[in-house]
């Protein structure tokens, strides 16, 4: 519809909205061309569209997409385009086809059905079956060869989707084509496209237009149905659309119902090509669209979706259209086009639809008749226009209306998944565009490449994104602005992050006895933000502006630019990140700390022994102890180790080097834990090696016949804590625990697993600890620098929410191996353990984030403890732990000086050195919302949202939390729409380029097991995941929420490039394919039922699908290139993540597939989570509500 209108209006639109045009233009441009062709083909629709149309599309789309991309990126303002343009381009190539199919399919199917009459039946099916119908040409296309072309289409469509209107348009388009009256309307133009259809461009255009259409529609509509529309157009663009489209469409349909429709659809597809051209030269494209062609282009777009519905309802056409549209609206808010119709159709439509569906077939024939009735058009147009206006947007209205209409849901489905922003595309684009050049941090306010992109970092005064990532790199200058945008200002800080091998670790600066130079007032550390003045005798703090004397030993002259001469010789003056050695003043009790200690506390109760765990740990420990963390400059680790085993009593071991045999000391007084020995408990590994080995040999023997099933837990932590206290050092406890601690002891727990609470207001209690005991214990641990890592091996409920309190407040980690069995989980556990023991870790850490005046760190998320509002205390801080910090304004910021932040972490290294790591980051400040939205990092935003939500569920009902998230996101997007996007139809969903993926990612957060649990997930798992996410960095949270799904059919076995990922949706899986999915915790190899035997042979060493052993956790080692490459990929994935991922082989249609499907996050989830498409529609609705 819109398209048509646009096409018509082309001229007017251009003028009014240049920006829009920019984006829209391409799209529009496309359509017009298409239209043009279509028009021509009108007669030929049938012919051209189907066969020729598709193929050409494929080619065309490609072009168009790139174009759109460029435009999008270049012009941020292209609000409408955002979604459309950006995505289309990437996908453009392949997607268009599918997309087009998606829509087109339906549309096609519908259209075909509709038009042919014969299709009458199909009409219904298409809706419901949408895919099934796909079997029809359209569907086939998706899967089959046509894919390419189809995909292109989809891409385009995606763009379109954003601009919802397209469908309507398409619908209209066909109509227009059909009805002769259309001639007078846009019909003529639409047809022209057909003729052009051969050109294909037109269809593409229509798709992309989706957005533009909305805009254009108005103009178009007026132009087309000038007579009728004129009145309508003026009111609101949207209404116009609605009105316009129907009018135009109807005529089309009437004209050539059967074929035309299909054609129209096709045209839709073809348009892409045209779009391509248009995008490139938006204006020009527009121009063409303006001409008759546009309409057709538009029409095709709209047509498809509508067509489906319409097709069904043909008779009602006009009225029907109305409803369908409305439905569409509902379904996909994006599809605004339809709404207009509904408005118009309003009353009649709904019933009609209902009837229509049933009647569908019948109506079709009737269509012709009905269509002919131009009256309808006339009539319709007017009404639509009016109602829409009143209601604001038909789109917005949809909800009520829709609700009335059962068909709505169906319509929703119609939205082509390929037409909506694709994470894969965005990731691929970023990788393509930004990985080649190193990212220099010297430019303030520049958002780094995505976390998924491989890029090198040059530290030029700001901390690497490996250490700090912000949600926004242009902070609003005022709190009002911040409030208005609702964009959270947060940073995800990973202070001890491991850098890529090719980047140098932070320089260590030693200022001798005086320690680091600091600002007198705010105590910020010397950094590149300090301004030296008065010839270098003083410096002004960039954070608080206080002027501090430069100590004599630190004095240096300034050069002519005011920089210190030695600026580049001193890392602290030139680097965003550096590390100071701390003096004794920075030590606890003013005493140089002792080297830290590792204490291993092993559950030896019946369950642990029986599962083989104790054997495994003891065997592994012997080698593991050789890999304790050490300073790179030292040959041996300074870390001392100690051993404890326990069931409902604790056994300490004296492994003093002078002993011939270890000595066991049992402490049964668990109510009042203490450490029974001093000397000989914590020992140097090398000195006591023999005794330790003897101990590790004997532990499994000693407990081999144990019948003790009860365990304690809190006393275990207390024991470790007391041991560290006694040794006066910091350290880490590794607790290997198997069951709910029900033995009589402090911190004794009871089984409180009650699934009935899920979904109620009391659900939050499930995430809260049972008792406050552990909170207090954690506090003590933090005071001593005692970090707790917990490895759980439960066979039933263990209350992770409670057991995890201490680990999470001491900067530790929780690992969980449910139903642990050595054969299946041994590898995973051992790898996790190795990594956990070996990874670099700091102890007794205090982190403080200082910021420039005007902004303040107000909230912190992560695994730590805070005793006041500013200091983040971490008993242990390892290289995988990230802390998310939220900032709030307390004053104005200035654009000139930007916003500065300095994160200083004081910690004890593994050799007992006290160090200070300082990360500095400056971001821009802006007074324009557009600037804010231009420099956001959605991945970081999601990280923040997830952590925020996951913490909120401790205190609020889950539903409230979900709503809060949705609301805030809707506000963010609507604020953008309102303030930054060029005016456009409310029916359009316009997303900021940087936040294009916000809806899809947000949906993933919302449907995560935490916020929307399925019936099969245990409370423990939820608590576990909740805690995991709390300390995740951006890369982890990204893949956690949006898993990576790699198709492996066409693996490049020679090179080291990975295949391009596909979107996490079942649709993307081919029966003949092999896919690898990872989310940082799980790794699946999905095997399609029709995979070629050769492939199976080279991967599984079996030719038959049926013989694949689904219980394998590693692929067989086979000497063929494919197997080698595949295993290498799996290994590289594992290496990339902090936790080892067990490989699960999932056979298509196997029981396990359910689990796998859980990670196909774009699909509707079993637990009721919305599919991406549905959620996008929902978001759109929310946004429109906010806008109204």
């Amino acid at each position: 519809m819109n398209v048509n209108q646009q096409a018509h209006m082309t001229s007017p639109y251009r003028q009014p909205q240049p920006a829009l045009q920019g984006y829209a233009q391409p799209g529009y441009g496309g359509p017009p061309t298409q239209y043009a062709p279509y028009n021509g083909p009108n007669p030929g629709y049938q012919q051209g569209p189907t066969p020729a149309g598709y193929s050409p599309y494929s080619s065309l789309p490609c072009k168009t997409f790139p174009a759109t991309l460029a435009s999008d990126l270049s012009s941020n303002s292209s609000s409408p385009l955002d979604l459309g343009p950006v995505r289309p381009p990437p996908n453009s190539g392949p997607p268009p086809v599918s997309a087009s199919q998606g829509y087109s399919q339906y549309t096609q199917g519908d259209v075909q059905n509709g038009p042919p009459t014969m299709s009458s039946q199909p009409h219904r099916p298409p809706v419901s079956q949408s895919y099934l119908p796909g079997s029809q040409p359209a569907y086939h296309q998706q899967y089959g060869a046509p894919h390419t072309s189809m995909q292109q289409m989809t891409n385009q469509m995606s763009g379109m989707q954003v601009s919802a209107p397209p469908p309507a348009v398409s619908g209209y388009a066909p109509h227009s084509s059909n009805p002769q009256t259309s001639v007078s309307f846009s019909g003529a133009p639409s047809f022209t496209p057909h003729s052009v259809s051969s050109q294909q461009n037109s269809p593409a255009a229509s798709l992309t237009h989706g957005q533009p259409p909305s805009q254009s529609p108005f103009p178009g509509s007026p132009s087309l149905s000038q007579s009728p529309f004129p009145g309508a157009p003026p009111p609101v663009s949207q209404p116009q659309y609605s009105s316009a489209p129907p009018a135009s469409s109807q005529p089309h349909y009437s004209g050539a119902h059967p074929l035309p429709a299909s054609q129209a659809q096709f045209p839709g597809a073809p348009p892409p090509p045209s779009q391509s051209s248009p995008f490139h030269a938006p204006p020009s494209s527009f121009a063409p669209p303006a001409g008759a062609p546009r309409q057709p282009g538009v029409q095709p777009m709209q047509a498809p979706p509508h067509s489906q519905y319409l097709t069904g309802p043909p008779l009602p056409h006009q009225p029907m259209q109305g409803p369908p549209l409305s439905q569409q609206n509902h379904a996909a808010p994006g599809m605004q086009g339809p709404p207009a119709q509904p408005a118009g159709q309003g009353q009649g439509v709904q019933p009609q639809q209902n009837g229509a569906f049933g009647q569908m077939s019948r109506p079709q024939p009737g269509y012709g008749g009905s269509y002919p009735g131009p009256q309808n058009y006339g009539a319709q147009p007017p009404p639509p226009a009016a109602p829409p206006q009143k209601r604001l947007d038909p789109d917005s209205i949809p909800s009520p209306q829709v609700s009335a209409l059962p068909a709505v849901q169906k319509t929703r489905h119609r939205i082509d998944p390929d037409a909506i922003p694709s994470p894969i595309q965005v990731i691929e684009d970023d990788q393509a565009n930004r990985s080649s050049e190193p990212f220099a941090t010297g430019v303030r306010g520049q958002a780094p490449p995505l976390v998924t992109t491989n890029f090198q970092v040059k530290d030029q005064g700001n901390a690497s994104p490996s250490y700090i990532r912000c949600t926004a790199y242009n902070f609003p200058c005022t709190s009002d602005m911040a409030k208005q945008s609702q964009v959270p200002l947060a940073a995800v800080i990973k202070p001890l992050a491991t850098l890529p091998l090719d980047e140098a670790p932070p320089y260590i600066v030693d200022h001798g006895e005086t320690g680091p130079i600091r600002c007198n007032r705010c105590k910020a550390y010397m950094c590149p933000f300090m301004q030296f003045i008065e010839g270098g005798r003083r410096f002004q703090c960039g954070f608080c502006s206080c002027v501090t004397e430069v100590p004599p030993h630190y004095f240096q002259h300034l050069d002519h630019t005011g920089k210190r001469v030695d600026c580049y010789d001193r890392p602290e003056l030139s680097m965003g990140t550096c590390e100071f050695t701390a003096t004794v003043d920075y030590c606890k009790n003013n005493k140089i700390p002792q080297p830290p200690a590792f204490i291993f506390l092993i559950d030896v109760s019946y369950n642990a022994v029986k599962s083989g765990l104790v054997d495994l740990i003891c065997a592994e420990m012997k080698t593991l102890l050789d890999y304790l963390p050490r300073e790179s400059s030292e040959a041996d680790s300074c870390i001392r180790v100690g051993f404890v085993t326990y069931n409902k009593v604790l056994h300490f071991y004296n492994v003093k080097s002078s002993l011939a045999q270890p000595q066991m000391m049992v402490v049964s007084d668990v109510a009042d834990m203490f450490v029974p020995l001093l000397d000989g408990f914590l020992v140097n590994v090398n000195e006591s090696r023999a005794v330790i080995n003897s101990l590790l040999d004997q532990i499994p023997e000693m407990f081999a016949d144990t019948r003790e099933t009860e365990t304690v837990f809190a006393p275990v932590i207390q024991a470790g804590l007391e041991a560290l206290k006694a040794a006066d050092c910091a350290g880490k406890l590794f607790i290997f625990h198997s069951s709910l601690p029900i033995a009589e002891a402090p911190g004794k727990l009871k089984n409180r697993e009650d699934k009935k609470l899920v979904g109620t207001d009391k659900e939050k209690t499930l995430f809260q600890p049972q008792t406050s005991f552990f909170g207090n214990l954690a506090k003590e641990c933090v005071a001593q620098g005692c970090c707790v890592d917990l490895f759980l091996f439960p066979n039933q409920y263990v209350d992770v929410a409670t057991l995890g309190v201490v680990p999470s407040q001491t900067g530790g980690s929780v690992y969980k191996y449910t139903y642990f069995q050595v054969p299946s989980d041994g590898d995973r556990f051992l790898n996790d353990l190795r990594r956990d023991v070996q990874k670099q870790v700091g102890f007794d850490a205090v982190m403080r984030v200082r910021t420039s005046t005007g902004i303040r760190a107000t909230d912190f998320f992560g695994d730590f403890y805070m005793s006041n509002t500013t200091d983040v205390e971490l008993a242990g801080l390892d290289c995988d732990k990230a802390v998310t910090v939220e900032f709030r304004h307390d004053d104005k910021l200035s654009e000139e000086s930007g916003a500065l932040m300095q994160c200083a972490v004081l910690y004890t290294s593994c050799s007992g050195q006290r160090r200070l790591r300082v990360h500095n980051l400056s971001v821009n400040c802006c007074t324009q919302l557009a600037d804010l939205y231009r420099n956001c990092d959605t991945d970081t935003l999601i990280n923040f949202f997830a952590k925020y939500a996951y913490r909120s569920i401790l205190n609020s009902p889950t539903k409230t939390v979900r709503d809060t998230l949705i609301n805030q996101s809707a506000q963010i997007l609507s604020c953008y729409r309102k303030n930054c996007a060029s005016p456009s139809s409310a029916g359009q969903l316009i997303l900021p380029e940087c936040m294009k993926l916000l809806p899809v990612y947000l949906n993933c957060v919302l449907k995560s097991d935490i916020l929307q649990p399925g019936a099969d997930i245990s409370l423990d798992d939820r608590a576990y995941l909740r805690q995991l996410v709390t300390s995740m960095d951006v890369a982890e949270s990204h893949v956690f929420f949006y898993p990576r799904l790699l198709p492996l059919q066409k693996l490049d076995v020679e090179g080291d490039s990975l295949p391009t990922a596909v979107r996490a949706s079942e649709e993307r899986l081919s029966k003949g394919g092999l896919y690898l999915l990872e989310n940082g915790l799980h790794l699946f190899l999905w095997v399609g039922a029709n995979v070629q035997q050769e492939l199976l042979q080279s991967v599984f060493n079996t030719p038959s699908f049926g013989q694949i052993d689904p219980s394998m956790t590693n692929l067989p080692v086979l000497d063929n290139p494919y197997s080698r490459r595949l295993r290498a990929i799996i290994e590289s994935f594992r290496a990339e993540r902090p936790r080892y991922m067990k490989l699960m082989v999932v056979k298509q249609d196997d029981k396990l597939e359910l689990i796998f499907k859980h990670f196909l996050v774009e699909d509707k989830s079993a637990s009721g989570g919305a599919s991406y498409v549905d959620f996008l529609c929902h978001m759109h609705k929310e946004i429109r509500q906010l806008l109204s």
């Binding site: 009593v649 056994h651 300490f652 002993l659 045999q661 270890p662 000595q663 066991m664 000391m665 049992v666 402490v667 049964s668 007084d669 009042d672 203490f674 029974p676 020995l677 001093l678 000397d679 000989g680 101990l695 004997q698 023997e701 000693m702």
Partner: protein
């Protein structure tokens, strides 16, 4: 009187009994008028090489409230096969086994020479002896080493089937599991937290929820297997335990400057008691506590760990300034009671230069019949040999120790039946038993009657047998009015002195020293008034019969003894002395009251001399035995000779022999006495001479100068009264009508 002396001696040899009065006053009133109570010293397990135990069980009186044992004093009707209980007059049928009884075929228990007889009880489980070592590790390295060696040595002295256990303590308490190979395993307890016996057993894993079968038999072996983790037969874990002891280290926790080590004696004992309580109730067991310092933490602590606060002295106690005294005493008292209930005895070996809290802990041994040995260091022969002597064996190669003793006294015409439990008894353990004549004055026991007393001692012999020793004695009743001279003649002044001393010590435990002395004096005066012959108000006319002649002198020395005098003694020492005083037999007790002094000279064979300063002469060597100390004192001249080395010269061989003589005699005493006395070799003017000087009667002091400078002895620098003065006062008071 010789007859009485002989009678007394004979009785003691045969029955181990000595009465203060061998003829009994016939009514309560008269008995009280006797001043010295009717009482006896009884040595239940007096060694009787000539007394083979009989292999059957005693025949009991069938009256449930009586249950006296058939004895030679019973009237027996051989034809009717009946016997009459001489305590309740119940007539009893002989059991079937006695069918062949006749006046020529008497069972042993009816023969007069078997007034003391020992039965071996065959039934009931035989449980091995149990020795639980509780070892302080807060010792100096040398001490610990010496202690470890002694303990290791002791393992070889134990019967092979005896069960041993080990608990060590310092800041924490460790209970060692002895059954495991490879890794040594111990249970550790915080030294500051009091735990109930049940908790301890739970924590040691000694409680098994299973085994609801109450039938005793099945439960028995199971109990054994559980407890066997901590208590193992010596023969099985000899090597293990030796190694364990070898690896025993000093308490590793650092002791800051100015602090005492933290020593959890209280908890260690509590755990030992709890462990045995749960595993071997009512079985003979010894808990042997070796401690080298005062408990400084937890329940039972005696002093804080601040060195600047000294451990309580008598002065503090009098001023009520001993913070922990009451609490600790109460704590140990409770422990002792628990232990006693279960028949386990607690020995305390306290070796330290300073006090170790014996005052508070003494009840543990006192109530359970355990030993207390006190000394300066474990690295002394005093400890080593004393400890070794604990395991001495008798003529049968059996240990001179018995367990779980239970003494029952049945009397006729006296107070009710009583029972006592003495967990650890050795052949020298002597009890003072005080009787009360219950007959009213107007209904005295008929003249000529004989009062009978039966002592029934059930105990576990060191061979693990259960035995019952029955001693039945009888004495004549006499009317104190008409037959006072009989009674007087039957007075055993030695026994009376010891019995009175025991009463005095008992009072001293709870009363202030001066009060006790005053009481003692009053008793003495009353006795003199009762039995002395004198004219009123004429001290010179005062005479005491021979049977009373030594009594005042005993009292004089008793007044000066460390049992009643706390001056110059720490509370621990007092407790230690008193502990031994109330359990040694009559001879030893008398030595304690009035030490023995022998004199060696060229003038003749060694001779006992007066415990008097006049005995201290330059040309004599004195050997004084106070039971706790053996002092060899060289007179001034002798000392000079010795210094000059005459003994090395062949021509002065006799001098060498003279020097050697007391040493040999001392050695003899040292060899047999338990605990081994402190051996002191000193000379005129030596600092250690004070031990001698403080004991002798200060007949010559700086106050009575008339003797000054004469060759009659050495003046004692004291304000104490001399025996002479004491006697003078006594006479004066005795004859005074005012009192």
């Amino acid at each position: 009187m010789a007859t009485y002396q002989e009678f007394i001696q004979q009785n003691e040899d045969r029955d181990g009994v000595r009465f203060s009065w061998n003829v009994w006053p016939s009514s309560r009133l008269e008995a009280t008028k006797m001043v010295v109570p009717l009482a006896c010293l009884f040595t239940p397990l007096k060694e009787r090489p000539d007394l083979p135990p009989v292999q059957y069980e005693p025949v009991l009186c069938s009256r449930p409230t009586c249950k006296a044992v058939l004895n030679p004093l019973c009237q027996v009707d051989y034809r009717a096969k009946l016997w009459a209980c001489n305590f309740c007059y119940q007539r009893n049928q002989f059991p079937p086994a006695y069918a062949g009884i006749s006046d020529v075929n008497q069972p042993a228990e009816l023969m007069p020479q078997f007034s003391t007889i020992e039965y071996i009880v065959q039934h009931g489980p035989q449980t091995p002896l149990i020795f639980l070592y509780v070892v302080d590790t807060c010792l100096e390295e040398e001490d610990l080493q010496a202690l470890k060696e002694s303990l290791q040595m002791s393992l070889s002295l134990l019967p092979p089937n005896a069960l041993v256990g080990l608990i060590t303590f310092g800041r924490m308490v460790q209970v060692y599991e002895l059954s495991c190979d490879g890794i040594s395993k111990s249970y550790v307890f915080r030294g500051t937290k009091d735990l109930s016996g049940k908790q301890i057993q739970e924590m040691l894993g000694l409680t098994k929820p299973a085994a609801p079968v109450q039938q005793g038999r099945p439960a028995q072996p199971q109990d054994h297997s559980i407890s066997s983790r901590f208590l193992q037969p010596v023969h099985k874990i000899d090597m293990n335990l030796t190694d364990l002891l070898c690896e025993l280290q000093r308490d590793p926790w650092p002791v800051p400057q100015g602090k005492r080590p933290l020593r959890s004696t209280g908890i260690a004992l509590s755990i030992a008691v709890g462990l045995l309580e749960g595993t071997f109730p009512n079985t003979g067991a010894r808990i042997m506590l070796f401690t080298g310092g005062p408990p400084t933490q937890g329940p039972g602590m005696v002093v804080g760990d601040e060195l600047k606060t000294p451990i309580r002295s008598w002065h503090d106690i009098e001023k009520d300034n001993a913070r922990y005294l009451k609490k600790a005493t109460k704590y140990y008292d409770a422990l002792a009671n628990r232990s006693a209930v279960n028949g386990h005895c607690i020995d305390i070996y306290a070796f330290a230069l300073d006090q170790t809290g014996l005052l508070e802990m003494k009840c543990c041994s006192n109530l359970t019949g355990g030993h207390i040995v006190m000394g300066d260091s474990f690295n002394t022969s005093l400890f080593k040999q004393t400890y070794q002597r604990v395991f001495t064996k008798d003529y049968n190669g059996e240990f001179r120790m018995a367990f779980g003793g239970e003494l029952e006294v049945k009397e006729m015409g006296l107070g009710g039946t009583s029972q006592w439990k003495i967990c650890g008894i050795n052949p020298f353990t002597t009890l003072g038993i005080y009787f009360e004549v219950v007959n009213q004055h107007n209904a005295p026991v008929p003249q000529g009657g004989r009062g009978a007393i039966q002592f029934i001692t059930q105990y576990q012999h060191s061979s693990t047998q259960k035995r019952i020793r029955v001693t039945t004695i009888a004495r004549n009743w006499a009317d104190a009015q008409s037959q006072i001279q009989h009674i007087e003649a039957a007075f055993d002044q030695e026994a009376a002195a010891v019995l009175m001393a025991r009463l005095g010590v008992f009072r001293a435990e709870s009363e202030e020293g001066p009060d006790v002395l005053r009481w003692l004096d009053r008793q003495l005066i009353r006795l003199c008034q009762k039995f002395g012959q004198f004219h009123k108000e004429d001290p010179n006319s005062f005479r005491l019969s021979e049977s009373f002649s030594l009594y005042p002198q005993f009292m004089f020395h008793l007044r000066r003894s460390p049992f009643l005098q706390v001056f110059n003694n720490s509370p621990d020492e007092s407790s230690y002395y008193r502990h031994h005083f109330v359990r040694q037999d009559l001879t030893q007790s008398l030595i304690m009251i009035q030490p023995i002094l022998y004199s060696y000279s060229f003038y003749g064979p060694p001779e006992p001399v007066l415990l008097d300063s006049s005995s201290i002469l330059p040309d004599r060597i004195l050997l004084m035995d106070t039971f706790f100390q053996l002092v060899i004192y060289h007179g001034e001249t002798i000392a000079q000779w010795r210094k000059a080395g005459y003994q090395e010269m062949a021509e002065y061989e006799n001098f060498k022999q003279l020097l050697q003589a007391p040493l040999d005699d001392a050695q003899e005493i040292l060899q047999t006495r338990f605990p081994m006395p402190r051996y002191i070799d000193t000379e005129h003017g030596g600092s250690q001479a004070r031990f001698l000087l403080s004991k002798v009667n200060p007949s010559q002091t700086h106050n009575n100068l008339y003797a000054w400078g004469q060759e009659t002895g050495a003046p004692i620098l004291t304000d104490d009264v001399s025996l002479q003065v004491f006697m003078d006062h006594l006479k004066k008071l005795a004859v005074s009508s005012a009192s």
